[in-house]
Subunit: 478 residues, 2 copies
Amino acid sequence: MADLKFKTEAITSRSEDFAQWYTDVCKKAGLMDYSDVKGFIIYKPYGYAIWEQIQKYLDKEFKETGHQAVYMPLVIPESLFNKEKEHVEGFAPETLIATVGGNKNLDDKLIIRPTSEVLFTSFYSRLVNSYRDLPVLYYQWCNVVRWEKTTRPFLRGSEFLWQEGHTIHASEQEARKEALKMLEVYDNLGRDVLAIPFLKGKKTEKEKFAGAEETYSIEALMHDKKALQSGTTHYFGQGFTKAFNVKYLDSDGQIKNPYQTSWGVSTRLIGSIIMVHGDDNGLVLPPYVAPIQVIIVPIKYQDENVRNACNYLIKELKKFNIRVDIDTSDHTPGWKFNEYEMKGVPLRIEVGPRDLKDGKITFVKRLNNEKNTAELEDFALNVPTLLKEIHQEMYDKAKEFLLNSITEVKTYDELKKVVASEGYAKVCWCGDEKCENKIKLDTNATSRCMPFEQELFSDTCPVCGKKAKYVVYFAKAY
Amino acid sequence: MADLKFKTEAITSRSEDFAQWYTDVCKKAGLMDYSDVKGFIIYKPYGYAIWEQIQKYLDKEFKETGHQAVYMPLVIPESLFNKEKEHVEGFAPETLIATVGGNKNLDDKLIIRPTSEVLFTSFYSRLVNSYRDLPVLYYQWCNVVRWEKTTRPFLRGSEFLWQEGHTIHASEQEARKEALKMLEVYDNLGRDVLAIPFLKGKKTEKEKFAGAEETYSIEALMHDKKALQSGTTHYFGQGFTKAFNVKYLDSDGQIKNPYQTSWGVSTRLIGSIIMVHGDDNGLVLPPYVAPIQVIIVPIKYQDENVRNACNYLIKELKKFNIRVDIDTSDHTPGWKFNEYEMKGVPLRIEVGPRDLKDGKITFVKRLNNEKNTAELEDFALNVPTLLKEIHQEMYDKAKEFLLNSITEVKTYDELKKVVASEGYAKVCWCGDEKCENKIKLDTNATSRCMPFEQELFSDTCPVCGKKAKYVVYFAKAY
């Protein structure tokens, strides 16, 4: 009962107030704290460690797909920023601008990068001369700033951390392929690391990135049935390379502009993880992203057998590269159970004198609180498989939730009902932005993406009644 | 002769113009490029990869010494920045200030962090309540901005990349120990990774960090006999924790302010590597920091035996985790030799049909151009040892150069002569800042650090003739 009390004091339930639940988890699991400036958060060790795991996986993937890491400046001269018209219109309203440097007013004001298309393309205009220089496949890990009115930890911040890839190619086909390939890399991150199934597809004209010809996205579905755009890749055509005069001499003797892409995921993914997997006891972390995969809670650490068993377990688990930690503080076991539930540690091992008499330990899966005993001696050997199973169960659970939250709608009433509280409305849409706008106005839902499998299941657009052309997912979104 | 021509065209010699040589190497080895804003450089893949190697080593060391990675905001409200007086005086003149966000003038201007003592200490005031919360051992990898008048790639930039550690402790002794421990971590980085011997010691009052009680530094000696401060650690006492009201309840029931440290190294280390090891053919990279440790240059790649031998070598070298690359472009072997000399790749393997007839390959050490042949079959097995030897030779060479560039001086004339062109003048100094100022004025040399071994070899200060109290190194510095 003491434990229960601790829990109910600690955290709002999801059904009571999902937004408050989210904030509670962010704070109480020790992921972040607020700073002195609105929208600029502090990534605490536990939150940052999740980001480090994501970085480690993606950085390897980027390099293995032939990309190279670089670092571009934090600032963009205003004059340079203004070169690509659509891009400026998209980003100018939310820029942070430096106007004073070394106690002097700057002639050319400096925009703190909201994204770095401008910087990369300007650099490429000096870097590239011949078709032999192509493709250029660069990416960077960095911070970016977008002056947001409404901010929420990880989901929407004035500053966030991300990677941004920027590539240029000799052929349109190759660039288009790159944008789709990187979407696949992000999708694999979801499947293999985050245990999040994404809806993938192309953005509508209205929702695409400022300056892009095409934008693709991965969309995750949160527990409250709202979508969260979790990553995007863009095909730019020659818009930026023409605006910034990136030219090369092709093998046929002609001067040409290359074709361009960019792609990014950010610390927003941490928000996805929280809201896809979390429950009323706090965070539930997928094993491959969890900073601590296994927490050992000793019952009576003063007992020598318990201490020895813990040390043995730690040593054995480390042999399998398991991220294991032990809590030997003087808090009660009950307090510790709650603490590591809150922190979402996938697997808890309880080591106590009673079990040890039979050479056993108890283990508990965070995902479903399933409790089992096992032999101490060879338990470590089974942990990699256990974590893999937990990962798969989490993915399957999220996938089932996603699939149960997609409804094909044929009428506008159905559409309104679905996006109100049931998740995605799969719609056969006429393609007219007016209908998108009307849906937004009436329901606050937006088009999330158009799946690659375009099988029309209805002849007419539910909004205007005209001929349906595209299958689109609509949902309320963060 | 063609090769020789290529070389002399490519790069200024060190003796002719050291500053131009440095810039040539930075650009021609593909380390960096200039951006559209003065002092903000672009880290190209080859330059950034060196930084990645440094990060990898240090991040592991930081974690193994109990530190945790976090991320703090990019911006500091001006009102907060002004809280610690000495710190403000030191940094205010070189800040970049954002005054406009989302098209509106900001009430509290935002300083782009030049360093993050203010942010960490402000955070700690909310984080820490009890002696049980101490120590807090946090660090972050990030970009910082200092609005510099004179900028040079890697050495002094308006933006640079670094890590900054910020710790608070219950006891003065523990904090002092931390500052010295992290200096040791940096010194080990030099010895084990960069092949750079540092002079270590304490800064004088005049040269210490703005707001610190004590500053320690590692100083490297460049080929032109100028010093380069390559990393610092600071002991702050309670200056910041008092100014920012960081308080905790100690076990004795008293409310106390913790003791603080900070420590950092930056991309300036890349400048150190270039100027310590480089020669007239370009960069010379220490093996453990080299993005490419072994470059394979095939002679006649169209020959099937050559291709097979190259593939075999790559496969074998990768077994030993060697970072190996092969250049199969249609440039001549001579061009490739020069190219990878310029890029400072520690070991080159030439694979040609003539050697292969006898089952052999040729290998060349970048450090001294030493050429040898070896059996193809088991060569890979020996490469880890070879790289270790190269590392040691580079370290020993740099150490000899350093030791030969330190002169104990007893008179002011000797001091002036030594700092003019011979490196470090080791001086028995009275401790008066006036003498430091006079030396600076007369010779442009500054005190670099006071070694931990304080053995006075002279009774009087060479500047004022008063009683000598401290052994100090003076040198011109970057």
